[in-house]
Symmetry: C2
Subunit: 362 residues, 2 copies
Amino acid sequence: MLVQKKITPFSQPFTVESGFVFTQPEVAYEEYGTPNGPVILLCHGGLSSCHAAGKYAETDPQAGWWDGLVGPGKVFDTDRFRILAINALGSSFGSTGPTSIDPATGCRFGPTFPTLTLRDQVRFIKAFLDHMDIARVHIMAGPSMGSLHTLQMAAMYPKTVGAAVAVATAGRMTASGMGMHHFIANALRDDPNFAGGWYEPGKPLYSMKVVWQNIRLYYTSEKIYQQMCFDTIPHAPGSQQKRSDAVRGFLTLGMEAAVANFDPNAMIASVDAINTHDLGEGFATYEEGVRRIQCPLLLLNIDTDQEFPPRCAQEIAHILNAERPGQATAHIIESAWGHLGCVLETQQLSRQIAVWMTAHKL
Amino acid sequence: MLVQKKITPFSQPFTVESGFVFTQPEVAYEEYGTPNGPVILLCHGGLSSCHAAGKYAETDPQAGWWDGLVGPGKVFDTDRFRILAINALGSSFGSTGPTSIDPATGCRFGPTFPTLTLRDQVRFIKAFLDHMDIARVHIMAGPSMGSLHTLQMAAMYPKTVGAAVAVATAGRMTASGMGMHHFIANALRDDPNFAGGWYEPGKPLYSMKVVWQNIRLYYTSEKIYQQMCFDTIPHAPGSQQKRSDAVRGFLTLGMEAAVANFDPNAMIASVDAINTHDLGEGFATYEEGVRRIQCPLLLLNIDTDQEFPPRCAQEIAHILNAERPGQATAHIIESAWGHLGCVLETQQLSRQIAVWMTAHKL
C-alpha cells in the first residue's frame, strides 16, 4: 500500500492550557481506505509519527507502525473503512512542534515551544476532526501515547468517539513511566551540547544515543534479551563473549537512523505532555473522570510492560464495568517485547481487536 | 560499630588472563568481629566498595551496604565470627584499579588498565586469602557482583569455601544484564568529555548522571516508583504534577554524591568483567561447570529483579540438587526494589540466611 503524508493548516488559531496561542497551526496526517466508509482514527506513540501504515515508496525498508493492522482484509480493513492517522501537536513529524517556524519571529520555536498537556493534544485532534468536518469516528485507536489520546478523547468528547481501542495504556500516567520520561528530559537538557535547546539542527546530540539505548532497555523486557541474544547462542568456548556482542548489537539496533530523525525539543514536549495524563484531573475522584467514557472500550496491555503494567488496563475496565457491565474489555497480551509489544505484536492485537469488533458489531 | 578501611600490598605480582602483570598489586579490605572466630568473607556489588558494615565516623550519614546483616547479634554476628570484606580488583575504592598509579609510568592507569575477567577478580580474592594466611572461609557471601564472585570462588576453589550465600545472582551473566552494562560503557565512552578515558580527574562526567539515573530505573522496578511516588500522593487537583515532581526527585536521589565518587574507567572495568561471568566456561556443558560447587549454597534472588530474575537462582539449585539433594537452597525474596533489594531487603535476607545457617549448623 503506497501512502502520502499530508500537511494542512487550520483555519483558526489554537490556544493551549498555558495560554499560548498558535496563530498558524498545522496538522500532518495520512489517510487510507474507503473515502465514504466509517472513520477509524489512529493516534501514534510518543516517539512516532502519523505514518501508521503502508510505505511512501516501494523501496522503503519498513512500512508504518501498525501496518499489520491496517490494509485490505486486515482488522482495520481499508476496503471497508476510511482510516485517518494524525500526527500529535508538539511532534517533529509535520504537525506544529518545536521544529516549526514561529510566525512571530520567523525562527524555529525550539525551546520557546510552549509546555503542552495531554489534553491540549487531544483538543488539537478534535480541532483536526472539526477541520475535516467529521462529527463522529466509528473507532478511535492507538498504542502507547496514542492510547492515552484515545482514552482522553473518549472522556472529553464522548459523542465524538463511537468505540475505542487503547493498547499499552493507563487512565493516568504511572510513576515508573514518569521516571523514564524524566530520564529522557534530564539526559537531553543536561547534554553539554543542548545549549538551552538551541542546539545545532541536523547534528544529533550525544544524549540522543543514550536515550535511544535506554528506550531499548526500558521499553522492552529482560525476556527479549534472553530470547534474542542468549538462547540463540549455545554453550561453547567463548559463548558468553558472543552473547555479549549480540547484546551490544541488539541494544543499539536502529540507533543511527533514529537519532538522525528525532528532535530533542519535540521529545521533551511529548514526554512532558504525557506526564500530565490523568483522566481524573478536574474531578472529585479519579473514577468519576474515567466514567465519562461511554463507548465500548477495548484495553490491551502487555504482561512485561514496565510503563503500563496489566493492572493499569484492568483498573479502567473495573471502574467502567461496575456501572455499565460489558462496556470495557481488558485483555493482557503475552509478549517478551515489553512496552514495544504495542506495535510489534500485531498478530495478537489483530486477533483481539477482531473478536471485540465482532462482539460489538463494529 | 566504627570500622576502618585497610590497604595492604601483595608480596607477589598478580597476572591476569590477558597476560598483563600487576607488579605492585594492592588490596583494600575491612575487618570486623572476633579475630579468632570462623571467617566470613564478604564481596561487594559492582558499584560498591569493601565498606560492608559500620561507619568510619559517628557522623557518617550512612553505614556500610550490609550493615543490617553484620554486627553484634546480627546474622553475621561479630561476637562470633571474624568478618572480612574485600574490595574487588578494578574498583576505584582502594584495591588496584584504573585510578591507581601504574608503577611503570608513574601516572594513573586510566584507560590503559587491562581488561579483566570475573575469574581474574576471583583469583585476586584467593590471593588476598593466601596473603592473610586463611586456608578456608566458613561462609562466603555477597550481593550482585559479590554473589558472582562467591559462586565462581566456590567453583574454582571448592576446598576454600565452606558454605556460600549468593544474593541476586546467576551462574552466567544474563543477556539483559549485559544490555545494561553495555549501556553504561557506551554512555561513558561516547561522552564528549570522556577523552578516550583521560578525562579530568575529580570533575564528574555528564554521562555519570545519565548512568546514575538509569541505575535508578533499571536496578529498581516499576513497583517501587508506584509505591514511593504515586500511592503516597492522593487524588486532588494537580496531584499528577506532584507525583511527577516526586518521581524526578526519586530518580535523581543521591546522584550528586554518587557521581563525585565513581570513576568511569573503573565502572567500565567492572561491567566488562561481570559480562564474562559463566561458570560453564572451559567445560563441556554449563552444568558440568556449575557442579564444581560442592559446599552448601543459599541462593536468594528477588522477584522484580530484571538483571537476575528468579529463574537464575532456581537453575543453579536444580543442577546441584539433581546430584546432591539438599546441597542448594533457592528462595525468592518479594520486593518492590528490584535488583537493589540485594542490599535493601536486609530483614528478609537476615531471616533466610539465619534459617539456612541453622539448618546447616553454620
